[in-house]
């Protein structure tokens, strides 16, 4: 995302569509994006929905939490955890980084930066 390039925002869903301290999956063209509302920390995150470990479309159904204040999501399949800040896999050095999307809330809608 270059500084000069204008960010394209995709209106993903209403804030109430996302459960408190949980996640949902949205479809944007051919992409699946997981959106998380870390309600207790008043934070929103968006990542790819694909868990790179076994290539499963699943991360939005994962438990979110934190370790040493770093927000993370745990894949439901094998409990690998990924940083919601950097996308790095926190539980294994063998698993790839996941993509993090920029996210913003405007007028009670969730927007994800898609380009």
């Amino acid at each position: 995302m270059g500084i000069n390039k204008k960010t394209k925002w995709f209106r993903a869903c209403h804030v109430n569509d996302v459960p408190a301290n949980g996640g949902v999956c949205i479809q944007y063209q051919n992409e699946q994006i997981a959106i998380f509302h870390f309600t207790s920390r008043q934070e929103w995150y968006a990542t790819q929905n694909l868990c790179p470990h076994k290539q499963q479309m699943i991360l939005s159904r994962g438990l979110i939490g934190e370790t040493l204040s770093e927000a993370k999501v745990a894949c439901p399949y094998h409990k690998n955890t990924f940083s919601l800040i950097t996308g790095k896999c926190l539980s294994s050095s063998e698993i790839d980084v996941i993509k993090i999307y920029e996210i913003k809330i405007e007028d009670e809608f969730v927007f994800v930066a898609c380009e």
Binding site: A12, C13, D17, Q27, Q55, I58, L68, P76
Partner: protein, 838 residues
């Protein structure tokens, strides 16, 4: 000899060979070369980068080498190591100090490391080049074996040693009629004595492998392809293929060619620094000959890699004779051999234990003064291996009755303190050479508190994994010593044990995760504490778990079992396994309508697979309409009560086991606990319901019922133990009420009843005191709490089906009604199945 001390400016290191040891050397060298100044080049002969040969047979499982690779894609590039694959070195020029590869690459070196390994020895007998003769060494060998296996019915493995039996297992897995041919009078002659080998042979023969001992193969015969093998005693054996595993020969041809000293039977001669006769050339792994010995195991090879990496970076490690003890699981049979297994080197007295009922053989060799353990052999049960090995290697003094150490493992919890008696230098992980001190230090200085953390921090347990139980014990014992009393805190957010949290939640009437966090926790929670609290809330209040959806583990979040690919499976409750034809038809029709894969479960129910997330409420709506309820197959909860047909039909049955099973299942259905709970009721001592493998097992007797508790199958099967005999039904229910409630209140997360009992101080006697003799005076309270929880039961799926709000949660996309387009199925045996994952 060691005159060529390394100079700090950039040096060039060339490694010949990219198998396990060659790879480990690259890892170790780069690790020590912190400034990244050494120029490393690696030449490999195979087309694959280094992979795990120890677990080569895994390749047959999915024919993918990916999980065998020792490094991630791009590892060599990221470590700035140049790697040449499928490009072996063909010549070493020691005078110009360079190597020339097959493709003509000329590479100068300051130091050269030979890690050329070994090749399987093919005995010079007639027919060893026939089509259908294979060796068992590389992925390419396995590919060729696979290609032939499809067209074969019989396979003969020549060689009954470690590798030969590994190959035989692979042949058996390929469903071939498998023969093992060994020329000596017993299997694994290097590791086992006569009796140990006989026990192993019996076990293998039970599995269907045919063993031929004292057979020297004299020829392999056939017309164009293998048809039979001939033996020196003029007998023969028909076979379609032959796998030769008759030992290894060091790959020393390059070394010979350039004039390095080699042994009379092969191997590059090295000194304690692993230098060859040319001080600028080292040899490691199976090509190196140290003090007349080739070390054909991975642990000493890794140790050699470490020694050379140390020497090239200013260290001064030396290689000393390495312990060749081994422990392995052969075709489901545990075998171990350590120290001096035969007691050949010293006068000794062996202690031998034979259990022909369970096919267990143990032998330990004790020094004549009775003080030291010299070595031994274990077949069938290797639980005590780690402790025996450490006692032997560290020359620990034996207790007055050394025979007792053979049974330590069976005593359960009492053996844990043993690990702390080891000296600091005791090698715990021999693959990565990690000492006890390194592990304990990591706990003390870096706060490592579990085996996973230890793997990351020290690499201990990342090799063969055999040391992990011992690593865990060391972590726990060190924590205990630190005063961190295995206080078993849940995670960084809750500094309490599950038992303490349970009491706190109950006493303070806590009903949500947020309230628990606010009252007794810090921070914002994680994937560990959320499901634990969820489970406690469910056990304490039996509130609808889907109201707390975002703190539930996956399966509980969607009240279904997630399967490969992202679809779910559905299990309706069938109490006691009894079902009417109408209900069977209903299940069949629903399965047909939604195209669900059907399978009968071990718990006498029917599992329906392949449901998309949005279909779950519709499917359940139909199941509920047909009279079914949730089976809680997705929960850490009471699952099923299995039963035999009992006295109603069976001529041997003493009481109505089906009726009692249904009563029990209806009573405890949905009860949430630290882990799943399975039960069974058998109508007589023939035990067709397998009640003695359950958490709660009830078996009819002439006078009433016997109650068995705390058994399980799974990864670590354990028989249930007899808790009370000849009691009536009411007493059975009283005891189960108390027992389960006591377990729910006191067990750590994800602990089955068996492990809970094993760890319970005072063990079974204590449990009987609490539950039967009421020594704590809590029996009435336990029963009341159980009654309260059970009275709150209702079918979770009924609640979802009836609530449009809850139903809304069951979609894949929140912004579209489409199902997940990436889910796909394939047909297998006339049903749909998920596509295998990568």
């Amino acid at each position: 000899m060691k005159s060529n001390r390394f100079s700090p400016s950039s040096i060039k290191v060339v490694v010949i060979g990219n198998a396990m040891v060659g790879h480990k050397f690259c890892e170790k060298l780069r690790e020590r070369d912190v400034l990244n100044t050494i120029d490393i080049k690696v030449f490999g002969e195979e087309n694959h980068r280094a992979y795990d040969r120890v677990h080569l047979s895994e390749y047959f499982k999915d024919k993918s080498i990916d999980r065998l690779y020792l490094s991630k894609t791009g590892w060599y590039e990221s470590k700035n190591i140049q790697i040449y694959l499928d490009n072996p070195v063909v010549e070493i020029d020691r005078f110009k100090k360079n190597v020339i590869s097959k493709s003509g690459e000329v590479c100068p070196y300051d130091y050269l490391v030979l890690a050329t390994g070994s090749s399987p020895f093919l005995p010079p007998i007639t027919g060893n080049d026939l089509f259908g003769v294979f060796v068992y060494r590389t992925v390419d060998d396995l590919e060729m074996i696979l290609g032939r296996a499809y067209k074969s019915k019989k396979a003969a493995v020549i060689g009954g040693g470690l590798l030969g039996l590994e190959a035989a297992k692979a042949m058996l897995d390929l469903r071939l009629e498998t023969h093992v041919i060994e020329h000596s009078p017993r299997l694994m002659p290097r590791q086992l004595d006569e009796t140990g080998a006989t026990f192993l042979r019996n076990k293998l023969e039970h599995l269907g492998i045919k063993i031929h001992l004292n057979k020297t193969t004299s020829a392999i015969r056939g017309n164009e392809r293998v048809e039979w093998v001939e033996f020196a005693d003029n007998t023969q054996l028909d076979t379609d293929m032959v796998v030769v595993s008759a030992g290894i020969r060091p790959r020393d041809e390059l070394a010979r060619q350039c004039g390095l000293r080699t042994g009379p039977r092969g191997g590059v001669i090295v000194n304690e620094y692993l230098q060859t006769s040319d001080p600028f050339i080292y040899a490691i792994g199976e090509c190196a000959l140290y003090e007349g010995m080739i070390y054909g195991l991975v642990a000493p090879g890794y140790n050699m890699a470490e020694v050379v990496a140390s020497n090239l970076t200013g260290g001064d490690k030396i290689f000393t004779a390495f312990d060749m003890s081994t422990k392995l699981k052969l075709i489901g049979v545990d075998v171990a051999s350590f120290g001096d297994p035969f007691g050949m080197n010293t006068a000794h007295s062996p202690i031998i234990f034979e259990d022909r009922m369970r096919d267990i053989y143990k032998r330990i060799n004790i020094s004549e003064d009775g003080k030291k353990l010299l070595g031994g052999i274990l077949v069938g049960d290797t639980h005590s291996y780690n402790m025996l090995l450490q006692t032997c290697l560290n020359e620990l003094s034996l207790p007055p009755h050394p025979e007792n150490i053979l049974f330590q493992s069976e005593e359960g919890s009492k053996n844990e303190s043993g690990v702390m008696a080891l000296p600091d230098a005791a090698l715990i992980c021999s693959c990565e050479s990690i000492s006890k001190k390194t592990i304990c230090d990591a706990v003390i200085a870096q706060g490592i508190a579990d085996a996973e953390g230890m793997k990351k921090c020290t690499k201990a347990g990342t090799g063969c994994g055999g040391c992990i139980p011992m690593v865990k014990d060391l972590i726990n014992e060190t924590l205990k010593l630190q005063g961190k009393m295995i206080k078993q805190i849940i995670c960084e957010h809750f500094a309490y044990s599950r038992q303490q949290l349970y009491d706190l939640i109950k006493i303070n009437g806590i009903k949500t995760f947020e309230a628990a966090l606010e009252s007794f926790g810090t921070g914002f929670g994680c994937e560990i504490c959320k499901p634990v609290i969820a489970s406690i809330l469910a056990s304490a209040w039996n509130d609808l778990i889907i109201k707390h959806a975002t703190i539930q583990d996956t399966n509980d979040r969607y009240l279904a079992n997630i399967q490969k690919g992202g679809s779910y499976s559905v299990v309706p409750r069938i109490p006691g396994g009894e079902i009417t034809p109408d209900k069977l038809i209903a299940i069949g029709e629903i399965a047909k309508k939604y195209n669900l894969y059907c399978k009968i479960t071990g718990g006498q129910r029917i599992d329906l697979f392949g449901a998309m997330i949005h279909q779950l409420p519709e499917i359940w709506e139909e199941l509920i309409a047909a009279g079914f309820e949730s089976g809680h197959a997705y929960g850490k909860a009471v699952r099923t009560v299995k039963s035999c047909v009992g006295s109603t039909w069976c001529r041997y049955g003493l009481h109505d086991s089906v009726g009692f099973a249904i009563e029990l299942e209806e009573r405890y259905k949905g009860l949430r606990a630290p882990h799943k709970i399975k039960m069974a009721v058998s109508g007589c001592v023939r035990e067709c319901a397998e009640a003695q493998s359950k958490d709660v097992g009830v078996i009819a007797t002439e006078k009433g019922w016997n109650l068995f508790i705390c058994g399980n199958g799974g990864a670590k099967p354990q028989h249930a133990v007899l808790f009370a005999s000849d009691i009536d039904k009411e007493t059975v229910v009283h005891y189960i009420d108390r027992l389960l409630m006591f377990y729910i209140k006191t067990a750590e997360p994800l602990t089955r009843t068996s492990t809970w009992l094993n760890k319970l101080e005072g063990g079974l006697d204590y449990l009987k005191d609490v539950i039967i003799h009421n020594t704590l005076g809590i029996c009435v309270q336990l029963e009341q709490e159980m009654q309260e929880t059970l009275s709150q039961y209702y079918c979770e799926w009924k609640a979802v089906v009836e609530s449009p709000q809850l139903r809304k949660q069951f979609t894949h996309f929140v912004n579209s009604n489409e199902p997940d387009p990436t889910i796909s199925f394939e047909e297998k045996r006339k049903q749909k199945n998920p596509v295998a994952w990568v």
